[in-house]
């Protein structure tokens, strides 16, 4: 990015304002920090993807013939740890949220620019811990670190991995805190809460979870480290601990963390659909409050991960019914997105393909969540490939489709260049097909009873596993293509105009890429975020 030729006109923007590595590594500019994060999450996504490729290769045959059991266990653990904690959680908030929240609210930067940079360094330090573990020989606990396996039996580097996630968690807390304060304190004159773009609402809800939930995983992992390192008994019955306590504490964070991953993606999709339907989102207030409802209810459903772990049947019932309640706001969002297209003026651009792909995959992911919330059904399905398929439909089909959609949508704004529409549409379609081929067979595998985290499996499961592995190779190619044409566009892409999509939110009212201070003059907002009928959106005052 640093080497990209600046746009022909010599106008200064945040990319070419200052030069040299130091100006990037010590920057306080939220837009440059977005790019630092983009490099970080892209690296970890690629790394986690390599592990996924190895997992799918191994599972192409029932026997354990590519790697041995210990290696396989480390592969899926590293895949999960890297994808969840180092890619999915920071992906949209720290990259797109960082770039867009100040722009969307007409601010010059986030509330605490130095803290913003600090959170990137903390994230990278956490990431380095995980990389060190990788080079030392890995960890084999699964990303869920269930005790007492992780605290007393695993031979992997549990302490270093735990500390890595512990550290990365602070990055997440600081980002969330920064966003909450920024959204409260730095909105442009006239920008009331109900004039905010829904992307901002989604990030506000996400930030609440980050600030309230992440300390719990930090405490949990710290207790795990204490038990493993110093044999202080919290979870291992051999030391007088309770093995299920860990699961309660882990999921108290990790279920809301699912919403840290999906809510920002929902925000992205809302922006894309409204822009490419040229229509105000249907049910603005419903979409806004459903984000908040998801964040709040998300905190009281963790027990649905423990239906078979000896938790009382009555507790199971409470968690089951609450899990259905948290599903309703998601359903509301899906219906509102669909209704937004009704009588719109729909353009099938690349971001729109990703957004519509998101709706399809998230709908399947969400509906299959209803299977798992049902007690009697979950007893059969939990810990099988059905769960794997379900959360990949939500995490990959949802969060990553949203991330890629968002990257394509705001690419012209971030880098001031357009990419190749033909290639980008083809790759969006390849990803959609590859994704479904990879994960749909896993629903069937799960109902047939194939447990997750199995290195070798009975031969009757092979055909579906081969289909899944074939799909994964298509999916892998689908992810490589954008990597190529997006890099290409940095140097050779056509110069992007300030508002290439005809969108109405504030970030499109400034130049592409924006100047360091975002706006020449602080905008004054006089109407709602999505006003397509009026020519003038912002009166500059």
């Amino acid at each position: 990015m640093i080497t990209a030729t600046p746009p022909v006109e010599t106008k200064k923007n945040y990319l070419n304002q200052t030069e040299g590595l130091k100006s990037w590594l010590l920057t306080h500019d939220h837009k440059r920090i977005c790019i630092l994060y983009l490099l970080g999450v892209t690296f970890f996504f690629a790394l986690g993807g390599i592990f996924a490729v190895l997992i799918r290769l191994e599972l192409a045959t029932p026997a354990g013939d590519l790697v041995e059991s210990n290696t396989y266990n480390k592969l899926f653990t590293m895949h999960g740890v890297i994808m969840v904690f180092l890619f999915l959680i920071p992906s949209i908030p720290a990259v797109l949220g960082n770039f867009l929240i100040p722009l969307m609210i007409g601010a010059k930067d986030v509330a605490f620019p130095r803290v913003n940079l600090l959170s990137w360094y903390i994230y990278m330090i956490g990431g380095c811990f995980v990389l060190t573990v990788l080079f030392m020989g890995g960890v084999d606990t699964g990303w869920t670190f269930y005790t007492p396996f992780s605290s007393s039996y695993s031979n992997g580097y549990v302490i270093a991995t735990g500390l890595g996630i512990f550290i990365a968690g602070f990055s997440s807390i600081l980002t969330g805190l920064n966003f909450i304060v920024t959204i409260h304190r730095m909105r442009a004159p006239g920008l009331t809460w109900f004039r905010l773009p829904l992307f901002v609402w989604a990030h506000y809800a996400t930030s609440m979870i980050q600030v309230l939930g992440t300390p719990v995983i930090a405490v949990t992992l710290f207790l795990l480290v204490l038990e493993r390192g110093l044999h202080i008994g919290f979870f291992d019955p051999a030391y007088g601990g309770d093995p299920v306590l860990f699961q309660h504490m882990f999921w108290f964070y990790s279920h809301p963390a699912v919403y840290i991953m999906i809510l920002p993606s929902m925000g992205v999709v809302t922006e894309i659909i409204t822009t490419f339907s040229s229509k105000k989102p249907f049910g603005y207030t419903f979409i806004a409050f459903s984000s908040v409802a998801i964040a709040v209810f998300g905190f009281i459903v963790w027990g649905h991960h423990l239906f078979v772990s000896g938790q009382s049947a009555y507790a199971g019932m409470v968690f089951s019914i609450l899990s259905y309640v948290v599903a309703i706001p998601s359903a509301i969002k899906v219906f509102n997105w669909t209704a937004t297209m009704y009588k719109g003026s729909v353009r099938m651009t690349t971001p729109m393909l990703y957004a519509l792909g998101f709706i399809g995959l998230f709908t399947v992911g969400g509906l299959t969540g209803l299977f798992l919330a049902s007690l009697g059904m979950d007893v059969h399905l939990t810990d099988t490939y059905f769960v794997i398929a379900h959360f990949h439909y939500v995490m990959v089909g949802g969060a990553i489709m949203g991330f890629l959609g968002g990257i394509h949508y705001w690419w012209p704004k971030i880098f001031g260049r357009m990419y190749n529409e033909g290639w980008s549409k083809i790759s969006a379609i390849i990803i959609f097909i590859g994704f479904n081929l990879t994960f749909f067979p896993q629903f069937i595998l799960g109902y047939m009873g194939m447990p997750r985290r199995y290195h070798v499996y009975p031969p009757e499961f092979q055909v579906l596993n081969v289909l899944s592995s074939a799909g994964a190779s298509i999916l892998g190619i689908g992810y490589l293509i954008p990597f190529c044409y997006l890099l290409w566009s940095l140097k050779y892409g056509p110069i992007a105009p300030p508002n290439p999509w005809g969108a109405t939110t504030l970030e499109w009212q400034t130049s592409s890429p924006p100047p360091t201070e975002n706006f020449e003059v602080t905008p004054v907002v006089t109407q709602e975020a999505y006003t397509y009928t009026s020519e003038e959106v912002v009166h500059v005052g």
Binding site: F149, V308, A313, L375, H380, Y532
Partner: protein
């Protein structure tokens, strides 16, 4: 089981399997309907309302009565449909959580990476479980190390197997055959090798199999010799030792409510007895002193199960104990069980009505 190279639906071989499959069918139908509805609408709108000129469409006023009605409709209908899912799933779960009183009892100990199974009548097996068809089977499970999970897909049931406590799982096999046992909770290196087979046999074959089993006597009998070997009878009054001891009377104890020194009450179930052997100081019975030494490290999980069975098998109490009333069934892990006469457990003979 293994003979078919490809299948799309698991065998249904337990009384609960049909119910789970019925719920599954409902869930698939609802999901398919909404997925296809959304997919159809998205594609239809994308084509019908594709941009034909640069004209910006008129906004649809969602504050209108129609918009509000729509929002309510698409909130309330999914809520209603999902409440059916909840109630249906909960009712199956409650059946699954409550082993019928006439269940045959089998004990399962998980350890990295094998399943050790003991039958009440004394037979023992590893990674294999032989059960008679059309009988309610109740498993009591525990782990020697990490968390495992005993999963039989053909029965649609699984339960976590925890170190340091007992969990239960029950099923009623309805079809003779051989079915997978999987460990479903990740437990380390050979997790995927911690598998086994349930053999569902007809009653006659099962009795033949059981008769050929171990000659070590029933679980309770083995528990009794362990009880004597460990010297428990020197303090605890029991079937053999009737005089008042320094420790609580174990006769007829199982299934009753015990009053503790601190005034709280606790039900004498499997977990309570296990805990009292390993951590005697944790719950002191009212009127007694904290004098019992721990047997932690001296008794294996298998041995503990035998001791528990022995205590269960002890006949009615002598009447010297503090007030003890049977407690109602409450949770899956502690089903109500009337104390069984000491002579009920005989090798080679499944005992109806023992649980």
């Amino acid at each position: 089981m293994g003979e078919k190279s490809f299948q799309l639906f698991p065998e249904a071989a337990s009384s609960i399997a049909g119910q789970v499959d019925g719920l599954y069918a409902y869930l698939v139908l609802v999901s398919a309907f909404f997925s296809l509805l959304i997919a159809f609408l998205v594609v239809f709108f994308a084509i019908k309302y594709r941009r034909k000129n640069d004209e910006v469409p008129k906004p649809v006023d969602e504050h209108s009565v129609g918009g509000m009605v729509l929002e309510i409709v698409w909130s309330v209908i999914p809520l209603g449909l999902s409440m059916i899912m909840f109630a249906w799933g909960a009712s199956i779960f409650f059946t699954e959580s409550r082993p019928p009183a006439d269940s045959m009892e089998i004990f399962v100990t998980g350890k990295q990476w094998m399943w050790k199974i003991q039958h009440n009548e004394g037979a023992r097996e590893i990674n294999e479980l032989h059960v008679p068809v059309n009988r309610n089977i109740r498993l009591t499970l525990t782990s020697e190390d990490v968390i495992h999970d005993f999963y039989v897909p053909a029965f649609r049931t699984k339960t976590d197997v925890l170190p340091g406590r007992y969990t239960t799982e029950w099923f009623r096999p309805t079809k003779v055959g051989a079915y997978h046992i999987f460990c479903a909770e990740y437990c380390g290196t050979k997790h995927s090798g911690m598998i086994g087979t349930v053999y569902v046999m007809n009653e006659a074959d099962y009795n033949t199999w059981l008769g050929a089993g171990s000659g070590e006597g029933s679980m309770a009998e083995q528990g009794e010799s362990l009880f004597n070997q460990l010297g428990c009878g020197t303090c605890h009054p029991s079937a053999l030792n009737k005089q008042n001891g320094r420790c609580p009377n174990l006769n007829g104890l199982f299934g009753t409510t015990v009053e503790l020194k601190d005034g709280t009450k606790v039900r004498a179930d499997e977990s309570y007895i296990r805990e009292s052997v390993l951590y005697p100081q944790a719950k002191i019975v009212a009127g007694y002193d904290d004098i019992m030494p721990t047997f932690k490290g001296l008794v294996t999980e298998d041995g503990l199960l035998k001791l528990v069975e022995y205590v269960k098998s002890l006949g009615p109490k002598d009447g010297t104990e503090s007030s003890a009333t049977p407690a109602p069934t409450q949770t899956s892990t502690s089903p109500q069980a009337p104390a069984r006469p000491a002579n009920a457990a005989r090798p080679g003979q499944p005992i109806p009505g023992n649980r």
